[in-house]
Amino acid sequence: MTIQCPTPRQETERVLLGHGAGGRLTAELLATLVLPALGARPGPLEDAATLPPLESPVVSTDSFVVSPLFFPGGDIGSLAVHGTVNDLAMRGAEPVALAVSLIIEEGMALAELRSVMESLGKAAADAEVPVVTGDTKVVGRGAADRLFITTTGIGRRLPGLEPSAARARPNDAVLLSGPIGLHGTAVLSTREGLGFDADIASDSCPLHRLVRALAPLGGGVHTLRDPTRGGLAAALNEIAEASGTGAEIDEAALPVPGPVAAACDLLGLDPLHVANEGCLVAYVPEPRADDALRAMRGVPEGASAVRVGRTTAAHPGRVELSTRVGSRRVIDMPLGEQLPRIC
């Protein structure tokens, strides 16, 4: 993985309240900074974008308030694209269009805003999804923390795929597309006052290609979920609750990178509770598990996909862990507030 942590360029200008007032300053900000960064085609700006007709449209929206704005492996701009693209992907959809809404705190350096927007534009281009509409607001100092971004995604469901948390069934294999705990610990490692230098970068990346690779399994893909806030523990519990199907996870099979394990030990965190932005869990019927793993490993995002457990009818709605020493415990829903503002 390459570490992208763009250093803001030296630029003394700052965002003013007037940049969000809808007048000449707003037009200037859009024309000189936002639109070029997003690779928008020149032309009149309309109030709304039209979309081509879609057979099976999917929509999702998400707000991003991560602090700090830049972290190893990404920034709020790329995260705002990946987060929404991935939410669409978890319902079996490819992204068709994105809407981007900015809430900027007065006084934010224009250079920083430019870095974020360029990163957002690049992430959208990489994901092959255009930004078709958006909005920019500026609020007074202290009314926001530098920059909040909301992205809304429209997607097209891939034929045959209809994954849902409610569709997990007993005797599904639980597959994980990559290592866990990277995003949350990467963001934490940059927090002021935390003072640990870790060789950790966020896993933030778009997952729709990984889902496309799974499309041949069609309805066999029972459930997809990206374990973001609340980590894998929350995702597994949500699926267990929605489907009424229990799961048994093998602790020894969980891919927790060494630096993540070390950082979590140091900070008293559970890697199962730490957020991810570039992996997914897939529930597929046991006989299809090897096909699914092969498909996932065929794309870079899923190169280290592994089987981490299976579902069971033995304890409906409950997720259990076989511990390394050969005992068992329940994996519970995390309470929250462990790591504020990681996405």
């Binding site: 006052g193 935390l194 003072g195 020894a252 060494g258 394990a261 070390a262 030990d265 900070l267 008293g268 409950r318 259990e320 511990t323 390394r324 020493v325 050969g326 005992s327 068992r328 415990r329 329940v330 994996i331 519970d332 309470l335 507030e337």
Partner: protein, 369 residues
């Protein structure tokens, strides 16, 4: 990873468990003193793998749990003052006081900040001279040296806007108090490895001799705990009552002299009331007279504190190992990590929180197999 993976190895764990099963002939009761050890035991389900009849008794070593209610209420009264920036370890934020908690105070506008080190609080005081920065200095012998260092630095820097609300506690007096209780069932102790990394284990030798209990200085990884239990059981079976060191990679008999010296410079021993347990003589640390200027309790006179525990909480019996969380009628119903009645349900080291996180329930039908 070195120093981590090898202490979580399933093969080695099975091997130690086999030895333990071959060694134990009686239903021994072993107490792990530290809440961090409790969490490893419960998270890994180690207590469920012990030989039939043998039981781990969970000890009082959860600093958040034993911090007196009166200290918490005082902390909240200070944190609520407009000129105060209140810095604390994250664990303390959700601990319920008599009326509220620090998290609720923060939501209401108080300047409460989570720090991972007391030195961070000193840095805040340096950077924001217009704020009165108060650090909540709680914990066992483990956190005392770093807190002492913070006071020392603040004095060196001449910081007039930094103070500590101190409520340190010491392990050996608590062990003695437990043993002096005629109902005490504990037959051996796993002493907390990190406390001993600072203090060494000489203090435990008179306890082992006087009360005829084996004490094993033990680490925190699954294999540390299994090995600690085995070393305790071997002594019990052979009738020995020595202090032995399982955590040899971190602990020496004399401990860390420099850290001890720091603590001696800044603090002095005092009587302390433990939440849930009661007053124990010479069981705490307070700022020495030379550091009285940094005492937040003096700087911010707080009067009219009426501290009272929630009636439904059996924290005292939990902390002394007399009861299990699942014995409590409030456990998992009225008392959850979201709505804790007592501190053991809050802290990362609290026994009730450990049980709850591992999904343990009172009814045998609902518990994991």
């Amino acid at each position: 990873m070195r120093y981590l993976d090898e202490y979580r190895d399933p093969e080695l764990a099975r091997h130690v468990l086999d030895r333990l099963r071959r060694t134990a002939t009686r239903p021994w009761r072993v107490m792990e003193v530290c809440g961090g050890q409790t969490h490893t035991l419960v998270r890994q389900g180690i207590d469920a793998l012990l030989p039939a009849g043998m039981r781990m008794v969970h000890g009082p070593g959860c600093p958040v749990c034993v911090t007196p209610l009166e200290t918490l209420d005082r902390a909240m009264a200070i944190a609520a003052r407009p000129e105060v920036t209140f810095a604390s370890f994250g664990d303390m934020l959700r601990v319920p006081g008599t009326r509220t908690d620090l998290l609720a105070l923060r939501a209401g506008g108080a300047d409460v900040r989570v720090v991972y080190s007391p030195m961070d609080a000193v840095r805040i005081a340096e950077a924001e001279p217009e704020r009165e920065v108060v650090f909540l200095a709680v914990g066992f012998e483990t956190t005392a040296p770093a807190n002492a260092m913070a006071a020392l630095h603040a004095r060196r820097l001449g910081l007039a806007n930094f103070s500590l609300l101190v409520s340190h506690v010491l392990v050996p007096p608590a062990m003695t108090a437990l043993l002096a209780d005629p109902d005490c069932e504990v037959q051996a102790f796993l002493a907390a490895g990190h406390v001993c990394a600072v203090m060494g284990w000489r203090q435990y030798e008179p306890i082992a001799a006087r009360w005829r209990v084996p004490i094993v200085v033990t680490g925190f990884e699954p294999l540390d705990l299994l090995e600690g239990v085995l070393m305790a059981v071997e002594q019990l079976e052979e009738g020995r009552t020595e202090v032995v060191n399982q955590y040899a990679r971190a602990v020496q008999r004399a401990g860390n002299r420099r850290a001890q010296h720091l603590v001696e410079q800044v603090f002095r021993i005092t009587d302390r009331t433990w939440r849930g347990i009661g007053p124990l003589p010479a069981s705490g640390l307070e700022l020495a007279p030379e550091y009285a200027a940094f005492d937040a309790a003096r700087r911010f006179g707080v009067s009219g504190l009426r501290s009272a525990e929630h009636r439904g909480c059996i924290a005292g019996a939990i902390l002394t190992g007399a009861r299990e969380p699942t014995d409590c009628t409030a456990y998992g119903t009225r008392c959850t990590p979201r709505t804790p009645l007592g501190a053991p349900m809050v802290s990362a080291e609290g026994t009730c929180a450990a049980y709850h996180a591992a999904g343990r329930t009172a009814t045998p039908t609902g518990s994991p197999p």
